[in-house]
Symmetry: C2
Subunit: 119 residues, 2 copies
DNA sequence: TTCGTTGTTCGTGAAACATCGAACAAGGTA
DNA sequence: TACCTTGTTCGATGTTTCACGAACAACGAA
């Protein structure tokens, strides 16, 4: 609704502590994992066992921390990971988190519509 | 004290989300930075602008997450970073965090007695 | 214009967290 | 034994976070 187009922090505005806080929730880690392939995803594709207002909240935390970028297109919006910005700002951090999250299968209950459910 | 000797999680018991949560506070990041040189530090050496009960709390969070190891010796105790365990469990993560924390000077208000104050 | 879709915002409540001062427990020291 | 030092634990308090349903706003379609 563009009521308030989300604020995307510039790389300099990102802080380590905020990013770590954003990644201290399994649902948010799951969302980041889904976006890790670089593809932009529609809001509606995302599946998580929470109410949509809660999902909106988590997407906002990720966006405010600088982890994701949100784009509006008509009435729907798309999210993508700010892979490049993150690597520039915190070299190696995102990859280390993604590897760890993959090994432990963190946030596996977050999926994408159309994708085969794990297990 | 020693009333309950702290539980140190084994590497397998460590979780990414808990570790990230532990590192989402500037004081705790400052403590980790101090311990990053591998030296064991006495509790009494640590200087932070908080009450001692609060410092005790933060050290417990770090310990419970598996980031540090605490050793008792008589009435005083010593802390050290579990650098090796962390690298084995979450490869690259700690180094990426330490580099980012250093670049941004996160947790600079946490110091060690005897060390020259930054600035 | 009237719906239906889509996602944000609001109001609320429960849980977690950071912080403090005070009390406590274990060792060392006088 | 009496005292001091060292850290932990115990409430108490205020803030933040997570979660939900309901209401709302913008857009597209009928």
């Amino acid at each position: 609704m563009i009521v308030k187009q989300a604020s995307h922090p510039s790389p300099e505005e990102m802080t380590l502590v905020t990013v770590m806080g954003a990644l201290s929730d399994p649902i948010r880690v799951g969302l980041v994992r889904i976006l890790a392939d670089g593809r932009e995803r529609g809001w509606g594709e995302l599946r998580a066992p929470i109410a949509k207002s809660t999902l909106s909240h988590h997407l906002r935390v990720l966006r405010d921390a600088g982890l994701t970028r949100t784009r509006q297109e008509g009435t729907r919006c798309f999210v993508e990971l700010r892979h490049h910005d993150l690597n520039a700002r915190f070299p190696g951090l995102l990859d280390a988190v993604l590897e760890a999250a993959h090994n432990d299968d963190v946030g596996a209950h977050v999926t994408v519509a159309g994708d085969p459910q794990p297990t």
